[in-house]
């Protein structure tokens, strides 16, 4: 479980960090640091395993039937990434403490950062591909929050939206790719997938799978042509950029390339797609970086370029290239994180990031300048620094792969050009910012930052140096295990050393260094040329055009199917249901009636049914006189409850009767605010059309009911009838089904009822309706709002009604009754108090807020279910026993009765919530002109 806890820690920590911010600004930084250390501590006991050649896999069943397990994996590659994520994360936590200003919310920042850290950790430690994807999407979401941290800034919101759209679309493609991969291999476990490389590569679905996965990788790692979101994400606070664009977010893409390298690489498709995209990105990023005047813009495109380099290396497919790729991941993370932090310090202390104004900062901050220059030199690939080593390996690999091919000079030439551009923009970063004359009207006079703000940069720069000077003593073991687990094979022969003698790679490095210096010297004419030509291209324009086009398409489809008229929608729905319902009758030759013998007709039933039919027709006919319609529909409901009595359903009859009362009260209250008469309709054609539909629907349903009722049937009722008493401890089978056999359904249903109540309260909040002072005939309301006789009588009746309710609740398990009915009876009893005595009078004697009732009800019902877990039974298993009470005699106690109590409370709470809030409306002052 240790790996699971390591991933879980930052997620829990996110909440703790947010809480800690209430204690003071520094507290959330301390808490974030502690959370990161805790996550590290969970990993420490397993750290030695990858170095011993063991892959640690921890698995917990989750949905084994679907192949979805909570599965974590710690091997060399995962270890390397976990170290980068947590190590650099810790430095970012420290750095951000000094970077954020007084106005920025510390708690929110660190909370998002922890969420993001947990998601990243989840990606790299996942053994299950679907689980990996979930964390992958979580990084998209949490990076959205981080990029838009300064929500008041337009570019922050736009940048975050663009990043989410691009990486989210990529995540969708990736899901498709993973599902195909799971289909091919038959498992989502990485161990199986990595061992099935040949099976995957020879499968006919290989190309679609590869394409979809690469779409996910390329969007995440900002590969051409999806690179454009990354520069816009620079609107984030610099600590975020330093974290997302060095060690995490964008590295998730190349992590996946490395992770799936054994499973997918080694085919021409892989070679051309991956190295092609990598090369294009490498060149494009390096070229654009040179022309950016914004310090972070330069670093953003440089990041794109270096990601291209890593992608290109993995695309080359040779084991040695993969080793170089892993090595460059480490090196890029260290120098790029420190460069971003340095850029943040400069921005923080000088007030701008524009390199046309930032000049000659050496004089003001020599110490920061030294750090930044070392890191920039590492980025350029200068000897004695870590960037040099991996770049050298990269150059050597491109020579190796091109040797003996026609046109084989092209790849080495292009990567040398990219190297030269890299040197040029690194030079620009150093020379423009720290030398090159004096600053141009800076908002403030720059100076060295606080001591602790420099510490993270120092640590990273020292790492660049020691890795660059003595690679074998420092990074070699980590690189070896990470590379070996990337390849899932023995490592190729390679030597980490500064000096390999004079070889083609060294020559390429020298050409790149010299060429870069030359390009930088020629920058002025180059800048002028760029401004005139390519500088005008902006990928955002294309993205926005695409996005707007997509929105327009969505809107036109919506307009096509949604006409904005409920009346028409309902018509289409009913017509469609009719067609679908009638079609099978026309097709099949089955007779309408079956041969089951029916019950004989009796006079009482005939009279009741006639009353119901007449009342229904009256409701339809008189629906414009709304009060009359309400009376007639009440008659319908009454006869329906009589039908339940007649056909052996006492529980239903009781429920229907009490629901009938609350429904009528509800509709009466609503009618108060609605017109009491409606104007007649003027469209006979529509009336005829609706009449036809209604007749067809009615006839169809009647025919269906007739067809069913005249046929014999099988039922599962026997089980319930047989097990109700021995299994559920109750003789009222309907109630036992509700609270025991199908208790889970009931829990869902009372939740729906609670939600309906809450939704109604939300809708009524702030609602103001003009209450008419007289009825439609012009008569004013009775001055005696609360008649004395009614008030007195209802007060006497209340305890009686409550007694009945308690009785009904208690006997419900064995006799008709139960939580639903008791709840409704209680509601009616209380509502009557409101009606007879007024809300003010009632609230003096009773809590006005029924939210707690609903909450308690749901909690009791849920806890009765959970309690059975304590005894090792499935959710909502019930138990019962018989107690001998003095005076009362033998009394049965069932856990299902507690559940029924929960049902009771929810029904009372929700009903009161609905009716009392609706009734309270008319006391709100009417708003002028709100109703015509």
């Amino acid at each position: 479980m240790t790996l699971f806890f390591a991933v879980l820690t930052p997620f829990i920590g996110a909440a703790l960090v947010a809480l800690a911010s209430r204690l003071g600004r520094s507290h959330s930084a301390w808490a974030a640091g502690a959370v990161t250390l805790a996550a590290i501590a969970w990993l420490v006991p397993s750290l030695h395993l990858p170095f011993e050649g063991t892959t640690l896999i921890q698995q917990h069943d989750w949905m084994p039937a679907l192949g979805l397990n909570l599965a974590f994996r710690l091997d060399g590659l995962a270890l390397l990434f976990a170290a980068l994520i947590l190590g650099i994360g810790l430095l970012i936590v420290l750095y951000a403490r000094y970077y954020l200003s007084e106005r920025d919310s510390m708690g929110r920042f660190y909370s998002y950062l922890m969420l993001f850290m947990g998601s990243m950790l989840g990606i790299v430690l996942s053994e299950n591909l679907i689980q990996l994807l979930i964390f992958w999407e979580l990084t998209s979401l949490s990076s959205f929050l981080l990029i838009s941290y300064w929500q008041h800034r337009e570019e922050g919101r736009q940048g975050a939206r663009m990043a989410l759209a691009v990486t989210g679309a990529g995540g969708f493609a990736l899901l498709g790719g993973f599902l195909l991969l799971g289909h091919i291999v038959g498992s989502y476990e990485l161990s199986v997938v990595l061992a099935s490389g040949d099976l995957i590569r020879e499968h006919p679905l290989y190309v679609p799978t590869l394409t979809l996965i690469l779409l996910g990788v390329f969007t995440k790692s900002a590969q051409f042509p999806f690179h454009f979101w990354l520069p816009h994400a620079m609107a984030a606070p610099t600590p975020v950029s330093a974290y997302l664009h060095s060690a995490t977010m964008v590295k998730a893409g190349v992590f996946l390339l490395a992770r799936l390298f054994p499973a997918l690489s080694g085919t021409p498709e892989w070679f051309w797609l991956v190295s092609g995209a990598g090369l294009a990105t490498l060149l494009l990023g390096a070229y654009v970086a040179l022309f950016k005047h914004d310090l972070k813009g330069l670093l953003a495109y440089s990041t794109i370029s270096h990601l291209g380099l890593i992608t290109l290396l993995f695309g080359l497919s040779t084991p040695l290239a993969a080793v170089a790729g892993v090595f460059h991941i480490i090196n890029h993370a260290t120098f790029k994180a420190s460069l971003f932090m340095a850029a943040g310090i400069i921005d923080h202390e000088a007030g701008t990031r524009d390199m046309r104004r930032l000049n000659g900062l050496w004089r003001f901050m020599p110490y920061t300048a030294t750090l930044a220059m070392v890191a920039a030199a590492a980025m350029a690939g200068v000897p004695l620094l870590n960037g040099f080593l991996s770049k050298e390996m990269f150059f050597a690999e491109t020579m190796e792969i091109s040797a003996g091919h026609a046109g084989g000079w092209l790849l080495p030439a292009l990567v040398t050009l990219a190297g030269a551009l890299g040197v040029a923009y690194s030079l620009r970063f150093i020379h423009d910012v720290f030398f090159n004359g004096r600053p141009v009207d800076l908002p403030r006079t720059p100076h060295e930052p606080p001591r602790w703000m420099k510490v993270p940069v120092e640590i990273l720069v020292v790492l660049c140096l020691v890795v660059g000077i003595a690679p074998t003593l420092t990074v070699a073991p980590l690189l070896a295990v990470a590379a070996a687990d990337t390849l899932q094979a023995p490592l190729p022969d390679y030597h980490l050393a500064l000096w390999h003698g004079v070889n083609p790679a060294l020559v390429m490095s020298l050409i790149a260094l010299g060429g870069g210096a030359l390009i930088y010297l020629m920058r002025r004419p180059l800048f002028a040329w760029h401004e005139r030509s390519l500088g005008r291209l902006d990928a955002r324009v294309v993205f926005n055009a695409l996005q707007n086009g997509l929105f327009a398409l969505a809107r036109s489809i919506t307009r096509l199917i949604d006409t904005g008229s409920l009346q028409r929608q309902v018509f289409f729905l009913l017509a469609a249901a009719l067609v679908l319902g009638v079609a099978p009758w026309l097709a099949g030759g089955t007779p309408l009636a079956g041969n089951r013998e029916g019950l004989p007709l009796d006079a009482v039933s005939l009279i009741a049914a006639s009353a119901l039919i007449i009342a229904t027709l009256a409701t339809v006919w008189l629906h414009r006189q709304r009060f009359v319609a309400l009376v007639t529909i009440g008659v319908v409901g009454l006869v329906v409850s009589l039908a339940f009595v007649k056909f052996s359903a006492p529980d239903l009859a009781l429920t229907q009767l009490s629901v009938e009362i609350v429904t009528i009260v509800l509709l009466l209250l609503a009618l108060y605010f609605l017109p009491q008469h409606a104007a007649p309709e003027h469209e006979p054609a529509r009336l005829w059309r609706d009449g036809m539909i209604a007749l067809l629907a009615g006839g169809g349903t009647a025919a269906l009911a007739w067809a069913v009722l005249t046929r014999p049937y099988d039922t599962i009722a026997g089980y319930f009838l047989a097990n109700s008493v021995p299994g559920g401890g109750g003789s009222n089978v309907v109630n036992v089904i509700l609270v025991d056999f199908r208790g889970y359904d009931t829990l869902g249903e009372i939740t729906v009822l609670a939600l309906a109540g809450l939704g109604i309260v939300a809708m009524l909040q702030g609602l103001q309706l003009a209450a008419p002072s007289r009825d439609d005939a012009g008569r004013s309301w009775d001055a005696d709002a609360y008649p004395a006789i009614m008030a007195t009588l209802t007060r006497i009746l209340l305890p009686l009604a409550l007694l009945v309710a308690v009785f009904i609740l208690l006997r419900g398990h064995n006799q008709p009754g139960g939580g639903f009915i008791a709840g409704l009876i209680t509601s009616v009893a209380l509502i009557v108090q409101y009606l007879a005595n007024g809300a003010v009078w009632t609230h003096q004697r009773m809590a006005s807020d029924s939210h707690p009732l609903v909450a308690w009800g749901l909690a009791i019902a849920a806890f009765t279910g959970l309690a059975s877990w304590l005894f090792g039974y499935p959710f909502l298993t019930s138990t019962f026993s018989h107690l001998n009470w003095p005076v009362v005699g033998e009394f049965e106690l069932a856990s299902a009765m507690a559940f029924d109590l929960g049902v009771f409370l929810v029904v009372v709470g929700a009903t009161l919530m609905i009716l009392v809030n609706l009734g309270g409306l008319h006391r709100a002052p009417p708003k002028k002109g709100s109703v015509h």
């Binding site: 409901g637 052996s648 359903a649 239903l652 409606a678 629907a697 009911a705 809708m763």
Partner: protein, 114 residues
């Protein structure tokens, strides 16, 4: 008896459908109420008709009717109440926001000219 019940269900459905197609909110709510009567009855009689056989276990009982449709319908009745309440409050909200009680938020005279 079965034919009578089928007829009742049919009449309730027809009335419910006709009212649900009206343009103003109140008749639509009435229509939905009628329809839920119809649907509840329909579901209930799926257990076939039985007289004097309530599903309450006792030694004296001659037999029991099917309890399962009853359990389903019981919660359906309560949920229909919740739904009716939600819809009618939605109608009130619409009247406050839009100034009329048409389901499409239009005035009656607008409808005539449309």
């Amino acid at each position: 008896m079965e034919a009578l019940i089928a007829l009742v269900i049919g009449v309730l459905t027809a009335g419910g459908v006709f009212l649900a197609l009206r343009g103003q909110t109140f008749p639509v709510v009435l229509g939905l109420t009628l329809m839920s009567y119809a649907v509840n009855l329909f579901l209930f009689v799926m257990g076939r008709l039985a007289i004097g056989l309530p599903p309450v276990i006792s030694d004296a009982a001659a037999g029991y009717t099917d309890p399962l449709p009853q359990a389903l319908v019981l919660t359906a009745i309560v949920i229909s109440f919740g739904m009716t309440a939600f819809v009618i409050v939605l109608a009130l909200k619409a009247r406050a926001e839009l100034g009329n009680d048409h389901v499409d938020g239009r005035h009656h005279d607008e409808e005539r000219h449309a």
